[in-house]
């Protein structure tokens, strides 16, 4: 058993025996939720331990090849998917959580969306006006700013042109980025150190404020005594293989779970069905299923240059979807290209002429659940795609097709089952409107996941209250996207961080 910690951060090589620590607060998970809480509480003078299962990455650890990178940074090698409807979904295992691999898009949830949360989930302090000070604080800290034009690149600016041509609103995406070079490689880690992922922003700031960080530790259980959480227990986990070794025990006055909306419910279930008097822990899992269309332009678009996701349109939020530009390592995004043989090779050769734009949808009728598997800490996920929600994406596909042609695409590849692989004009794209689109026709991804431990004013209908505290326990909190009561209508990270900021402030007041 070791006594005090050797330095502010522990890495895998530092663990030589079992670990037993004490702190005021233990935070599980260093993604956008956990990092903000750890920093907030450390800065307020509390003794904080932040525990993260993944290792810290340095730029030398980044793999530029998409699949190789996924094997190192993502859970289940990046091939996690739901059952019921097969939706692929990615969660990171790294210091910084999803912020290490995400596109850094930071958008505030619209007022109407938050008003809807308040009225439908018995919330009293979660309007836009309530959250704005927290959004302000996070935006200021991370230097969140609209993406400048000089790093947009053609594939982002063509989106703006398409929107202008059709009279749709559009804007450069605000991101937690300082000094972007437009390398388009946010997914494999920012070598330019421009993306303010948690590992280079809130986590070092928390350390500077006195927090201790234990990386490569898998928390397996929350320990309790009556209505109180007493700490967490787990094991050291070797980077990349996950091989478990020394035991880790941390006692704390307050426990904050921010392991992400897939892992937090598993932890609660593994801890004897904790915080589940409502029966809602692990229920209500939601995603923003996304579809993308590739447009091929007459001239090279040089897609290798430009912010990964630089432009967006919020025009269709009232209809349930948001439009964005998109880029990924060529191999990752080419896996959806149709054909075989020379035909496939020809399509790959068109990548330098392409722009890929996507739509993410608020699918509030499509719910799923998270369950612990018999062994290990990976979740078993089940999710059902409601036919009415599929129609939101049908409309989104039509708009994407319209936009690409308005921007000058000579053809599009809609990637929709039972429709032609290529469409060469708006007339041909009419097929998207006539199609009796079914969920099975779509190849969707859902990297925005939330609501599995939802916030609800009524303790019988939700897991946590507005302050993030579990209704059933006095000192157990959740601060990841699981607490969003339903879709935030836009990318969830900023709202997750704003809520986490509020959770930290609430805890600081209570202890």
């Amino acid at each position: 058993m070791s006594g005090g910690m050797n330095g502010a951060v522990r890495i895998f090589a530092d663990y030589t025996g079992d670990v037993h620590e004490r702190a005021d607060v233990v935070v599980v998970g260093s993604g956008p939720g956990g990092a903000v809480v750890a920093h907030g509480l450390a800065a307020a003078g509390h003794d904080v331990i932040l525990v993260e299962e993944g290792p810290p990455f340095t730029p030398d650890d980044f793999e530029l090849d998409g699949a190789r990178s996924m094997a190192r940074t993502l859970r289940e090698g990046g091939l996690r998917a739901t059952r019921g409807y097969m939706l692929s979904t990615m969660q990171a295992i790294a210091l910084g959580g999803g912020s290490l691999v995400n596109s850094a898009i930071c958008v505030r949830s619209p007022q109407e969306t938050l008003d809807g949360w308040c009225s439908d989930f018995a919330l009293e302090r979660t309007t836009r006006a309530d959250l704005d000070p927290h959004y302000d604080a996070v935006e200021k800290f991370l230097g969140i700013e609209p993406t400048p034009d000089d790093v947009q690149g053609d594939r982002n600016l063509l989106f703006r042109d398409g929107c202008n041509a059709l009279g749709y609103s559009s804007e450069p995406i605000a991101r937690n980025v300082r000094g972007c070079r437009g390398s388009g490689e946010c997914f494999t880690g920012c070598r330019a150190r421009a993306k303010q992922s948690m590992d280079i922003s809130y986590v070092p700031a928390a350390i500077a404020a006195g927090a201790r960080v234990l990386t490569s530790v898998q928390v397996q259980q929350v320990t309790t005594a009556g209505r109180r959480a007493t700490g967490v227990a787990g094991q050291v986990a070797r980077p990349f293989t996950g091989e478990l070794s020394h035991r880790v025990r941390i006692e704390a006055k307050v426990v904050v779970l921010a392991a992400g909306c897939m892992a937090t419910p598993v932890l609660l279930q593994r801890s004897g069905g904790l915080a589940n008097a409502s029966g809602q822990a692990g229920e209500n899992l939601q995603f923003h299923p996304g579809v993308a269309i590739m447009g091929v332009f007459p001239e090279r678009t040089h897609p290798e240059f430009g912010a990964t996701q630089g432009y967006q349109s919020l025009q269709f939020i009232p209809e349930g979807f948001k439009l964005e530009t998109l880029w990924a390592p060529p191999g990752v995004f080419a896996v959806r290209l149709p054909g075989i043989g020379t035909e496939l090779k020809q399509r790959l050769a068109e990548i330098p002429y392409c722009a890929v734009w996507d739509a993410i949808a608020s699918c509030n009728r499509s719910l799923g659940r998270v369950r612990a598997r018999r062994r290990g800490m990976d979740p078993a996920l089940h999710w059902r795609f409601d036919p009415q929600d599929v129609q939101i994406l049908k409309r989104a596909l039509q708009v994407l097709a319209e936009l690409l042609f308005a921007a000058g695409a000579r053809k599009i590849l809609p990637g929709v089952g039972r429709l032609p692989e290529e469409m060469h004009s708006l007339d041909e794209a009419e097929a998207l409107r006539r199609h009796d689109l079914r969920a099975d026709d779509l190849t969707c991804g859902g990297n925005h996941a939330f609501s599995s431990t939802r916030m609800h004013g009524d303790p019988h209908r939700g897991v946590v209250g507005e302050d993030g505290r579990c209704h059933d326990l006095d000192n157990l909190y959740v601060a990841d996207t699981g607490i969003l009561p339903r879709s935030p209508a836009v990318n969830p990270m900023l709202t997750c961080m704003a809520l986490a900021h509020r959770v930290a402030a609430g805890i600081a007041e209570r202890i």
């Binding site: 699949a67 700031a205 290798e304 496939l344």
Partner: protein, 201 residues
């Protein structure tokens, strides 16, 4: 007697088609066996043949797929190898047109392999289509994982001189020891992200 001899010969011939040994794979494979390696090479040749806009799927594809499989969790590793096994032997049960009878996928001419795979891709059965798209996805990742192909496309990663930020002083490369932290305070070239002592402390 003659009947039974013929039957025995037929059985030997049939099992030869299934169990005939594969050429030894290159040394150093981490996850693929000889059969998997042969299958991936043969499928890659059909998926990315010579001719057309880009180079053919070369030797790098099976090596990449080997790493790809080796780096996934055990259950997925097994599933991927099952997928290769299934595709390799399905042509014995359902012979490929133009393939010269019941033969393993790797024994088919390239054109027959391509049209067989295409058939799976266009099948009315969702499961068959899924097998095809999974296989194509793995092979496409591998094909575009070849820096030469990316270079040909003009999609090679941008050259970036990586600055050093304060976090780089806190930990070494993943899995290394503390002594291997590569930088000291004098190396820092970008200010503290989120400027640790920022306004929101």
């Amino acid at each position: 007697m003659l009947f039974w001899s013929l039957m025995a010969l037929a059985a030997v011939a049939a099992s030869w088609r299934v169990f005939r040994p594969y050429a030894a794979p290159p040394p150093g494979l981490r996850a693929l066996g000889a059969r998997d390696h042969a299958f991936v090479s043969a499928a890659s040749e059909a998926m990315f043949p010579a001719g057309g806009a880009l180079p053919p799927g070369g030797e790098s594809v099976p090596g990449y797929v080997d790493d790809f499989v080796a780096e996934r969790p055990a259950q997925l590793r097994l599933l991927m190898r099952l997928l290769f096994f299934l595709c390799e032997h399905a042509t014995i049960v359902f012979p490929a047109p133009g393939g010269g009878g019941r033969r393993r996928f790797t024994r088919l001419p390239v054109a027959a392999r391509a049209s067989y795979l295409q058939g799976w891709g266009e099948s009315r059965l969702a499961a068959r289509r899924l097998v095809f798209t999974s296989l194509r996805a793995i092979l496409t990742l591998a094909y575009l994982g070849d820096p030469a192909v990316l270079g040909e496309l003009g999609l090679a990663p941008m050259a970036i001189d990586t600055p050093v930020c304060p976090a780089d002083l806190l930990w070494p490369r993943a899995g290394r020891t503390r002594e291997e932290i590569a930088y000291g305070p004098e190396d820092v070239t970008v200010p503290g992200a989120g400027s640790p002592l920022g306004p929101d402390s």
